[in-house]
């Protein structure tokens, strides 16, 4: 139906929900976000040229930002992440993951969108800028601030087996 809309939904729905979940951090809201985005995309389907993904992503990001702005009441982002005593401890590794996930929750919707689109959806920063609707420079700034807040250091590389074998 509708020039491939049904096929697109069947093919991409789960992935879109996952991406939306990383933004909204709640599955119910994520599904609602995706349904709203797809409903809006359905209205404009015939006018979308090429890959609909960027268009749908943009709706999801914008809708999430607008919902977040309206829903945000009293959530206080932490200034610092809790320090853990032993970084090699298995339990502390889980704590690290939880801390990182919590820290992602403290990012602004725009920063979170940049992180999710770049690191989960594997979009280039130019593509992210196009989706989020701002300049490449702004995306780089947002990314830098977000990584700083998450204590993610882009210069630290995890040593992979391939690197060891070289």
């Amino acid at each position: 139906m509708d020039d491939g809309f049904a096929e697109y939904v069947a093919h991409r729905h789960l992935r879109l929900c996952r991406m939306a979940y990383l933004l909204a951090r709640d599955w119910g809201t994520a599904e609602d976000l995706v349904q709203t985005a797809l409903a809006k995309a359905w209205l404009a389907w015939r006018r979308i040229e090429g890959n609909p993904d960027p268009y749908v992503y943009r709706i999801i990001v914008n809708t999430h930002t607008s919902w977040w702005r309206r829903r945000w009441r009293g959530e206080v982002p932490a200034e610092t992440l809790p320090e853990t005593p032993d970084p090699r401890d298995a339990a502390s590794e889980i704590d690290d993951q939880a801390a990182l996930w919590n820290a992602i929750g403290t990012l602004s919707p725009r920063q979170r969108a940049v992180i999710v689109l770049h690191y989960f959806e594997e979009r280039t920063l130019s593509q992210v800028a196009d989706i989020v609707g701002c300049s490449l420079g702004t995306v780089k700034t947002q990314l830098s601030r977000a990584l700083s807040r998450l204590r993610v250091d882009p210069d630290i590389r995890t040593m992979s087996l391939e690197e060891v074998q070289r």
């Binding site: 789960l14 809006k40 209205l43 992440l81 853990t84 970084p87 989960f120 993610v152 250091d153």
Partner: protein, 282 residues
């Protein structure tokens, strides 16, 4: 503790694949239904909806108008003698009482439409015969929510929100009606939602449901104001969906050729639904 980009990628992937309650179900029909509702809402509510001022101003004016004892008696003791409706369902009064200051008159029913479902936008089209045109919505459940939207003087959208039992409005002055009021058929949009529709929940989610008086929180008046927001309407409609519920809308007007109503305020009568004490209808 510092993280690497690989940590971040792994975390995002893990979290995204850790959904609760199994895979989200794809409901294409629900998406398309929501899309259609969106389209209807967008058509019905153009950008820059300017309704609150008109509603507030007229609600204030009506609130100041003294109510005659006769009108109250009529409301309580005299069920409408309805000859225009033969279908089952809520009955429309056969006359619409208008009181503009010291002037009081009745408008006869000129057009009515009945609906068996609620939760979606409906368009009612009618041909006014004068500059004094009223409407009233009646429902099986008088506590059902009603939202109306129509054209005001400058072409901007105006309307009212409230419980069905109090839902009425219209134009009663040449200065309030759009310039093409008598030149072509006019239309208004009506949404009826069940009395228990999650208005508060949706209003809080979309607008935060701010109240004019902070201590009152998201009370009925705040919910009514929130319903003027197209996004609240849209999401409420999507949440409620189309469901059974009978209601009718009646259009009342002066018979063609009758003298117009004397000048007077209000220039546009759109009652605030929560202000039931000022409702000038039967």
């Amino acid at each position: 503790m510092r993280h690497t980009e690989t940590d971040l990628r792994r975390l995002l992937t893990d979290q995204a694949h850790r959904q609760g309650g199994g895979e989200p179900s794809v409901r294409l029909d629900a998406i398309v239904r929501r899309g259609r509702r969106l389209r209807r809402t967008r058509r019905a509510l153009t950008a820059g909806t300017a309704v609150v001022l008109a509603v507030t101003a007229v609600g204030l004016v009506n609130g100041l108008l003294p109510r005659s004892p006769r009108a109250n008696v009529a409301t309580a003791a005299q069920p409408p003698v309805n000859s225009a409706q033969i279908e089952p369902g809520p009955k429309l009064p056969d006359m619409f009482n208008v009181r503009l200051g010291a002037v009081e008159f009745d408008l006869p029913l000129i057009h009515s439409q009945r609906f068996e479902t609620m939760g979606v936008a409906r368009t009612v089209t009618f041909s006014p015969s004068s500059f004094s045109t009223g409407y009233k919505v009646v429902c099986d459940d008088p506590r059902a929510w009603v939202v109306t939207a129509g054209k005001l003087k400058g072409g901007e959208r105006g309307g009212g929100v409230g419980r069905c039992g109090d839902s009425a409005g219209g134009h009663h002055d040449e200065r309030s009606a759009p310039s093409d009021w008598l030149k072509r058929p006019q239309s208004m949009q009506v949404w009826v939602f069940p009395a228990d529709a999650p208005v508060k929940k949706v209003a809080k989610a979309v607008t935060g449901c701010p109240s004019a008086i902070k201590s009152r929180g998201c009370d009925e008046a705040a919910q009514s104001r929130a319903l003027f927001d197209p996004e609240v309407l849209e999401r409420l409609s999507a949440e409620v969906g189309e469901r059974p519920g009978r209601w009718a809308v009646g259009i009342y007007d002066r018979p063609a050729g009758t003298d117009s109503v004397p000048n007077g305020e209000p220039t546009a009568v759109v009652e605030h639904p929560t202000d039931s004490a000022s409702a000038p209808t039967r």
